[in-house]
Amino acid sequence: MNIAGISLTDLLRKEVAADDVVRYFYDRIRKHNSTINAILRPYDEVPEVKPERLKGVLNGMPIVLKDNIITKYLPTTASSKVLEGFTSPYAATIVHKLAEAGATILGKANMDAWAHGSSTETSDYGPTLNPYDTSSVAGGSSGGSAAAVAAGLAPFSMGTETAGSIRGPASWCGVVGLKPTYGRVSRYGIIAMGSSWDCPGPITQTVSDAAILLKIIAGHDKYDATSIQEEVPDYPSLIDSERKFTIGIAKEYLENVDAEILKVTRKCIEILEKSGHTIKNISLMNPTYSISVYMILQRSEVSSNLGRYDGIRYGNPRSYFHDEAERRIVLGTHVLSTGYYDAYYKKAQKVRYLIRSNFESAFKEVDLIFAPTMPITATKVGTIDDFAFYGEMMDILTEPAAAAGIPAISIPASMHANGLPIGVQFMGPHLGEVAVLSAAYQLEQAIGFDREAVMKHYV
């Protein structure tokens, strides 16, 4: 059986026993994980498929979860030594939902420690390498989740995005990554980074896979006061392969982007236009403001959220925090402190309001916005040392949608001449996942990106 690159959609249609599938991917992790370091603390033995899981729509199939998603029987560390050996007394809401839907947890995926980063290099357990080129990074902070799917170590995974942490690694690893509307998916049991930004979301082989998982994890949760009350649509059946959209292209999102990525983006725009979509040139706020907004607000929220790690009730002492976490806590504390709060925190909140209303105005003229996901392809390991704030710079094109809390998806579009994947993204209005998924599905079908080519390195 060779199902390394199989989509979840196809897997669920296939006549194959969950036990065999779980063993298959367990073996692949044993064989190939040491090359890319996608999975933390891999199992020593094949995990059992619990019989009740076979009743759920996921039919016992294996998933890997980013290690900031709290599980009850596996440790959760957020890739930080502060939480080494920590086993939570409760599980995240989305873990319950995935279990009820029948998923078998095959492992916890590596990430930037505390989700602080865009390359998975700040992990205390080593970086996750890009399956396309192991001298390059997988991206982050959900690098392990993306790399696992790209290399065929797991057929689908869960990541989280604060600003770019799903779409970024998905783009750099040539897979699909969906950031839902903020509040669409419960954050209860997600180790908090930026509480007004964090979104759990699927990283998958295909767009319809993402729709299947979104339907499972979405929904109001009484344990997350920020979760949205709206009904969860039947995303998989609502993906529209025919509907034509008005798609906005903002010139501000094409500036300072690698030439080949731009070419690929333009090619995609042509494809969209040829298949009947209306392309409209629009203007959006300069994404560099989103960098500043994100830098200030995220680090403020981080300084508060990481305050709970006092080493008293659980975890190791705060001396176990490494550079990146410390820097972010210090900066966050600074911009929240007396004398600086107004100039930084309050100002950033106000600009964030404008970013959101800027998108709201844009969505009166267009149904969706299309852009490259990342300005460059995956960087070499060690590049982060050249930047004072690597993450925020890399995520320039993903930060705005995160600031506004709107949904966005990245799909692989093409290969760069340097051998690394190029991703493109659709952004939609608040709770506009159906349109986002539909347009992405149509483009995905038209492009026909070969996601299995890379897996011949992981045979």
Binding site: W197, Y289, S292, E326, H334
Partner: protein
Amino acid sequence: MINDEIKCVLLYNTLMGKGKITTDDVKKLAKLANLNISKEELEKYPSQLSESIKYVENLNEVDTSGVPDTFFTTKATNVMQEDDVDPNVKLSQSNVLKNASRTKEGYFVVKRII
């Protein structure tokens, strides 16, 4: 008025401190945030953090007059719940204590404060 005076002092501090975080600042902030910053880190952090602070000054280009003071991502307002115990989110004492580095007779042990 007292309020205006305080505002002036704060504005002065803000303008004076703008674009730069000093080693002293890092030491004070580390104390506030209960972090141990090593000597090597203390040498690196001020310039790295100053770069971030310098960058975000671009927000001054954005006119935010008329924008409300408060923001929440989903525009949600107060979310209320009954003040009842939900058995689904109760944890046993042993469960709660199981990850603690030091416990004694069912209590978390902390550093002496008083």
